[in-house]
């Protein structure tokens, strides 16, 4: 009897432990694999750093004209600018919604807004892209200018897509604050707005920022919806109405047309590796923020 319990105990422990281990192995596998595929650009094709970190993209340039150029900076810039602007649009709105749900009208928030946010999160990205292409692009072309396929279209689609992430994380952060904070502020004669501005938002800052970083990470990784609306011109955009290209969009467009093991294809894997490195950077940021929050 006792023996059986000990055995079960051990079995339970090793079962859960091994599942946790699988998560690690899976991640390691992906990192190793992407590293191996992505670094082939240097190990096999002997591409110089000045070539790959440039804005010149001409992967099939004949050897006579100077050989292939695989500058990925244009793609990196595109990803950074689209995601950053999307977050700048989405974060204020997300925090507004969060404050509304947590402080202004919890009843409405719980019954009405929460499901709305969850639903927004559930709309598949393909559908966003489809609506972006058939509604948003013509709208921008006819009312704002340019060709419609633009940084602006990408930013708007992404902003709506990451809104749920930011809003729900910020709501959690505000709800997690001890109620005494707000009461103390109100007891001192502050209005509700003053309490929100001077006490609640600063105290929940770390959690809100975490949501923002997560939203940013999601924006970076979004492929299909963005690809449909940004025009995919492989150049640095000069205005918000210009088309541009991002890392994910470049990968989606060219992966099928290139041959495994060729320089062009390996450059795409290198871009995927860059995405992974960026994810690590975001994780680092989140952890930093989390630690800051803990100090509070």
């Amino acid at each position: 009897m006792v023996n059986r319990n000990v055995r079960r105990e051990f079995l339970g422990y090793s079962l859960t432990f091994s599942c946790a281990l699988i998560a690690i192995l899976l991640t390691l596998a992906i990192i190793l694999f992407l590293g191996w595929k992505g670094l082939a650009v240097f190990t096999q094709h002997k591409i110089s750093l000045t070539n790959i970190f440039s804005v010149h993209w001409w992967p099939d340039r004949p050897a006579g004209a100077g050989g292939p150029q695989v500058g990925v900076l244009t793609f990196i810039f595109g990803s950074v600018i689209t995601s950053t602007l999307a977050v700048l649009v989405s974060a204020p709105l997300g925090v507004t919604v969060a404050v509304f749900m947590a402080e202004i009208s919890p009843r409405l928030g719980q019954r009405f807004l929460q499901p709305v946010i969850e639903l927004l999160a559930g709309i598949p990205s393909v559908v966003y892209g489809y609506i972006g292409l058939s509604v948003l692009v013509p709208f921008i072309r006819n009312n704002i200018g340019g060709t419609g396929f633009s940084l602006l279209a990408g930013v708007m689609v992404l902003a709506v897509m990451i809104l749920p992430t930011i809003a729900s994380m910020a709501t959690d952060a505000i709800r997690a604050l001890p109620g005494t904070l707000k009461e103390a502020a109100l007891a001192l004669g502050a209005t509700r707005w003053q309490a929100i501005r001077t006490v609640i938002l600063p105290s929940a800052r770390a959690g809100i920022l975490m949501g923002v970083v997560l939203g940013l990470a999601r924006a970076f990784g979004e492929a299909l919806a963005v690809q449909m609306v940004i025009g995919n011109r492989r150049e640095i955009p000069h205005s918000i109405l210009d088309p541009l290209i991002t890392l994910t969009s470049g990968i989606t467009m060219d992966m099928g047309n290139t041959v495994q093991g060729s320089l062009w294809n390996d450059t795409l894997w290198f871009m995927a590796l860059i995405l992974l490195v960026l994810s690590f950077f975001f994780i680092f940021l989140i952890r930093l923020l989390g630690r800051k929050g803990a100090v509070h």
Partner: protein
């Protein structure tokens, strides 16, 4: 807890998982012909590659399976590059490609066998309201290299040209680059799109747009433009007047197995060549008087 014993459990589990995974690897495609002599075909065929050829091969596969219930054919898109890589690696039985394997960087064409099964004609298309019916090759080259930026310079309306490029690396773009641009590098253009469907949508709704599409997409919403007075008809192509076309290739690694060969023969049969292939706005491969070599 029980660190020492814990590791045994872990190792056991990893082994179990890897076993379970390899157990699924018994599934290999292309099992070849079934019992000889009965004339009954069995097996599975995996086809992957060119998105431009996918619909017609998919439809042909459907019909082939109806008359051969023992055969299962899967048709995957993914692009010509994917098709050629996968067939070279043995990951699929047939690779569909819009260009010769010799023209694709990174492919050892020596080990692949080419079966040309159809002719795809492409047309230069514009938004319906630009007012141009015919362009010389030179004019097209000037438009796509960015020298000409307004339709009035080639006899159309006063309307800025909106250049829609196909994705660099796609088979359609390679064909355009070689036979229409004569190898001149295209300008970056206004937008670049991978899929025919999206290009079609953009050209049909953007004033001043120009691009090129397979002729299956020609209907009232986009306007085809003649090249040097020739149109993408079977006659103009086979006499060599119209340059913008490509073979559709099915590549196998070495000689095809019995069941794969049966399917390729079916695609080459008159029934499919003059029926389905024409129906889907391709041309049969047999009528081509013009030779094209990689």
């Amino acid at each position: 807890m029980l660190p020492k014993k814990g590791w045994f459990g872990v190792i056991f589990l990893i082994l179990a998982v890897s076993l379970a995974l390899t157990a699924g690897c018994g599934q290999k495609s292309g099992t070849g012909g079934g019992p000889q002599g009965e004339g009954k075909l069995t097996g599975t065929i995996v086809v992957a590659g060119s998105t431009a050829m996918q619909p017609v091969i998919e439809e042909a596969a459907k019909r082939f399976m109806e008359s051969n219930p023992g055969v299962q054919i899967t048709v995957q898109g993914g692009g010509s590059g994917t098709g050629l890589s996968q067939v070279s690696q043995g990951a699929c039985d047939i690779g569909m490609s819009d260009i010769f394997a010799e023209e694709k960087a990174g492919i050892d064409a020596g080990q692949l066998k080419d079966h040309k099964v159809l002719v795809q004609a492409f047309a230069l298309v514009t938004h319906p309201e630009v007012g141009v019916d015919n362009l010389t090759k030179q004019q097209i080259q000037d438009i796509f290299t960015g020298k000409i930026t307004n339709w009035k310079e080639v006899g159309g309306r006063n309307q800025k040209i909106f250049l829609v490029n196909r994705a660099k690396g796609s088979g359609t773009r390679a064909t355009f680059h070689q036979y229409v641009m004569d190898g001149k590098e295209e300008a970056k253009g206004d937008v670049e799109q991978e899929s025919s469907g999206t290009v079609y949508q953009i050209v049909s709704q953007t004033p001043g747009a120009v691009s090129y599409l397979a002729i299956a997409y020609l209907n009232g919403k986009v306007k085809p433009v003649k090249i040097n007075g020739a149109a993408p008809t079977e006659e103009d192509i086979s006499t060599g007047k119209y340059p913008f076309w490509a073979f559709g290739h099915l590549y196998t690694k070495g000689e095809p197995s019995k069941v794969v060969k049966a399917f390729i023969d079916f695609v080459l049969s008159d029934e499919v060549q003059n029926g389905l292939i024409r129906e889907m706005k391709y041309f049969p491969v047999k009528g081509m008087k013009v030779e094209r070599k990689p």
